[in-house]
């Protein structure tokens, strides 16, 4: 392709520094960041939590949370007349910057539910932007809002315009946010992790939608994400950030296939690592499927009123095995984990658990002290490493609690057990008197794991145990789980929406869809060559972390209604 004259950038950020004054000094969240975006192009800003990518995006519109402020640098926005306007120089409350916000640069956010007002209709919030910047009257603005909702493919926009955000599904909310952002035909759309809270299939649709509208309007997109797969699919250029500084900046091809910086290499490496089975698992002899299963779930059904969350789910778990459960939100995978833990009382079916002495008990029917005794052998690791640890207990107290509650150890002996457990999960025992807030997300998840293995359990249910973690930490925690599995002879039920994680560590996978188990099979088979059309659709929606592999046409969405009857469920 012949090199054309480079278009002048729409936005040119030079040496941006954004600071947060704190009690102990000034924290520099963004430290000398420079980049530019040409009209119609997509720049992805990637980085892990705390990298400053969100603050960079918010600095452009001067909407950094208090007490953050732009300390230095220029943010030059090219006007229609070719003049450059330095946004960094404007008063953050002034008229000039407000005329840019929403009109020339619009923004969408990560959590579409909380980003829309709960007490105003979606239409009201779109109309507001139209009236503010385009000076439309009420009737015009309403008609335009309906047309915008139609453009983002919201069904029945005439009615949807008068609905509230909580009446929309997650994907629809993000579509409404996009409609609102695009209301005034901005030259630049800043998208701050817009698909992180969505399922992969919904994410694929939203990414397609943004790409389509970008093309139609010739709009530039600044896309902030931590998901390298998304980056590979949509970016023209990539800016890799870590701890407030730019690690690498270049075309997407270079970042993925010829990264220069060590941090970029590590980031790409940890993503690619999850594209294959873990070495520790690939080299291990296969699980003996003929042995008596430790857990035999038969026809497990769970109803919440009229709603059937689990519909006759049957699956087994072998000793020492990792069984993955995948599915989208609402598929019933979390309900299944909790029903197995007897956090819910199942509406029907049996959960046969074989105890260490060979006796088989039905967890669905146990009560009182029998249930309590069995619960020591089945433990859980939760998704949210922040919410699942009591902030007012020290780490030692958190880990020791199961031992105390069950009257197993006390005093010096207890302390020794806690130290040993912390070493097992790779934490320094000297830190045991600290509180959870002093630990990073990955460390907190290790604390949660230490708490789970305290009572020498035999089965651990891990519900999205790594989905709140950064990708570099994610594989470390997975490796820890596999090491503990080998050391302690644990069997895992590993619930996740992330196929990469499942492929990395699971032996077998069950795929759930609307409360039913649609496919069960060896992890390699299900993750690479699935039989069921739903699994195929799920896999097709996952963004591949390779910019050379950008075929959107193979994506499709599965709907049970469209399928011939026999294909619906197995088992």
């Amino acid at each position: 392709m012949p090199q054309v004259e480079p278009t002048p950038p729409l936005l040119d950020v030079r040496d941006l520094v954004t600071e947060f004054p704190t009690r102990t000094g000034v924290f520099t969240a963004v430290n000398g960041v420079s980049f530019s975006i040409a009209p119609g192009k997509t720049l992805c800003v990637v980085g892990e939590s705390g990298s400053g990518k969100s603050v960079t995006a918010r600095s452009i519109l001067q909407i950094v949370d208090q007490p953050g402020r732009i300390a230095r640098g220029q943010i030059l926005l090219r006007g229609p007349d070719g003049n450059m306007l330095d946004l960094a120089m404007l008063d953050p409350r002034g008229r000039a910057i407000r005329a840019v916000r929403g009109a020339r640069i619009a923004m969408i956010f990560q959590e579409p539910m909380s980003s829309l007002s709960p007490v105003h209709t979606v239409g009201d919030q779109i109309i507001e932007a139209l009236r503010l910047h385009l000076r439309m009257n009420k009737t015009e603005a309403r008609a335009e809002a309906i047309s915008l909702l139609g453009q983002v493919e919201i069904p029945d926009p005439q009615k949807a315009v008068d609905r509230y955000a909580f009446e929309y599904s997650g994907g629809m909310r993000q579509r409404a946010m996009i409609a609102m952002a695009l209301a005034c035909k901005p030259q630049l759309l800043i998208a701050d992790e817009p698909t992180t809270a969505l399922d992969v299939t919904t994410q694929a649709e939203i990414l397609d939608l943004i790409a389509r509208l970008q093309k139609a309007h010739g709009m530039a997109v600044l896309f902030i994400t931590h998901d390298m797969g998304v980056v590979a699919q949509i970016a023209d250029d990539v800016l890799v950030m870590n701890q407030g500084v730019v690690k690498e900046y270049g075309p997407v091809e270079q970042i993925f296939h010829a990264p220069k910086d060590d941090y970029t290499k590590m980031l790409i490496g940890s993503v690619l690592k999850l594209e294959h089975k873990a070495e520790a698992r690939a080299s291990r002899p296969p699980i003996d499927m003929t042995a008596t299963p430790i857990l035999d779930i038969q026809g497990l059904t769970m109803k919440f009123g009229e709603f059937t969350a689990l519909d006759k789910v049957s699956i087994t778990l072998q000793p020492g095995e990792t069984l993955g459960i995948v599915g989208e939100s609402g598929s019933g995978k979390t309900t299944m984990g909790r029903a197995v833990m007897r956090l819910y009382d199942p509406s029907g079916g049996r959960i046969l658990y074989r105890r260490a002495d060979g006796a088989q008990v039905d967890l669905a029917e146990l009560h009182g002290s029998d249930l309590k005794a069995v619960r020591r052998e089945l433990r859980m690791v939760f998704q949210d490493p922040f919410g699942s640890l009591n902030p007012r207990m020290t780490v030692a107290q958190i880990i020791a609690e199961p031992l105390l509650v069950n009257g197993i150890a006390r005093g010096r002996q207890l302390d020794e057990r806690v130290c040993h457990l912390m070493e097992q999960v790779g934490l320094n025992p000297a830190t045991r008197e600290r509180y959870p807030h002093a630990f990073s997300g990955g460390q907190r998840q290790r604390i949660g794991i230490a708490r789970a293995i305290t009572l020498n359990p035999r089965v651990i249910v891990a519900d999205e145990a790594t989905s709140a973690l950064d990708v570099s930490v994610r594989s470390q925690v997975l490796d820890l789980l596999m090491r503990l599995q080998d050391e302690l002879g644990l069997a895992y039920i590993f619930i996740s929406h992330d196929i990469g994680v499942i492929r990395y560590m699971c032996d077998r996978v069950g795929v759930m869809y609307r409360g039913q188990l649609v496919e069960v099979g060896a992890a390699d088979k299900v993750c690479n060559n699935p039989d069921h059309p739903y699994t195929q659709a799920l896999l097709s929606a996952i963004p591949r972390p390779d910019p050379r592999d950008r075929d959107r046409s193979r994506r499709f969405r599965y709907r049970a209604e469209d399928q011939p009857e026999p294909a619906r469920a197995v088992g």
């Binding site: 009109a103 619009a106 923004m107 956010f109 007002s117 709960p118 932007a129 503010l132 509230y164 909580f166």
Partner: protein, 328 residues
């Protein structure tokens, strides 16, 4: 929605009966009755009432009948004739006694409520938006002072200041010449002239707590993502504050209407006594002490009815302003 309101209305009827009965029993619970108190009062002024006369009095008031009969008669009178019975102490129909006091109480309460909201809500919002600024600290000091000064003390101090330095007649809501006069424009002016003192006193403490509540509500709402969204849309700071976080921060206040109404009667007793206000609270206290049970019963019934009406109003208002409740 209409069904919900109708259902709530129907439920109010048995609740009212239950509470009125309970109130009646509670008032009767202390040993003795109004006649005992009356005899004791007379005895203290060396008038001896013999047993016969006391029994006659009891018969006349119907106090010799079983409680359930007394209650039935009383409630029947209310339901059929709007007759709340006779106040023993005042020797007047209860209904004649309470309505004027209730009207004045209402005026006082509504005015102090409006003053409170008008001062507290903007300050609360300001304090939250300019958190840890000099203004915020100033208002915080003021709020804590207002919270910690007992209102009767403030009443005494202000009365002293008003009487000594401004030469105003303090105490009561009217000047002596208007006290028993029929309503006229002059009387209204006189009322306004007297009203500011109790309004200030009543408003100070509730303003103080309201500022803190509003500030906390706003601080909860301000960091929410929808505020950032509105800002990114290009709205001016004032407009977005009023439209988004303030709207949601006001919701808890609507819930408080449920207990504002009964407070009309039973609240601010001490201030009303210190200022000698002709409002409901001192009369309720006096009737309870004298075991003047029809008068006390009428007040308790009113408090109860106002509580029920108040919670109905706040539920309806909440449903109107918050679609999450309305559409459930």
């Amino acid at each position: 929605m209409l069904r919900f309101i109708a259902k709530r209305f129907l439920w109010m009827i048995p609740s009212l009966f239950a509470v009125s009965f309970l109130a009646f029993v509670l008032i009767q619970l202390p040993p003795g009755d109004y006649v005992t108190t009356y005899v004791a009062t007379l005895a203290s002024s060396n008038e001896i009432v013999d047993q016969n006369a006391a029994a006659q009095l009891r018969e006349r008031f119907g106090l010799d009948q079983p409680m359930i009969v007394q209650y039935s008669k009383w409630i029947w009178g209310i339901v059929t004739r709007g007759d709340f019975g006779l106040s023993f102490e005042w020797q007047q129909p209860v209904s004649g006694l309470i309505w004027e006091r209730m009207a004045l109480t209402l005026v006082l309460a509504v005015v102090s409520l409006l003053v409170t909201w008008a001062i507290a809500l903007p300050i609360g919002v300001y304090s939250a938006v300019r958190k840890y600024s000099i203004g915020d600290y100033g208002f915080t000091i003021f709020s804590f002072l207002g919270l910690s000064i007992p209102s009767f003390l403030l009443a005494l101090v202000l009365m002293y200041v008003a009487a000594v330095h401004f030469g105003q007649s303090v105490g009561g809501l009217f000047s002596p010449e208007y006290e028993n006069a029929p309503w006229s424009f002059g009387k209204l002016l006189d009322l306004l002239h007297h009203l500011w003192l109790p309004v200030i006193i009543l408003a100070v403490s509730s303003t103080a707590s309201l500022i803190r509540v509003m500030r906390a509500n706003m601080l909860d709402e301000l960091p929410k993502p929808y505020v950032t969204t509105a800002r990114a849309k290009g709205l001016s700071e004032l407009r977005l504050l009023l439209k988004y976080p303030m709207r949601i921060a006001l919701n808890p206040f609507i819930s408080t209407i449920a207990w504002l109404l009964p407070n009309l009667i039973s609240g601010s007793v001490v201030v009303a006594i210190v200022l000698n206000l002709p409002t409901a609270a001192p009369m309720l206290l006096q009737s309870l002490m004298a075991q003047d049970m029809y008068l006390a019963g009428a007040f308790v019934l009113l408090i109860c009815a106002l509580t029920l009406i108040g919670s109905l109003i706040s539920d309806i208002l909440l449903a109107l302003v918050d679609p999450r409740i309305r559409l459930e």
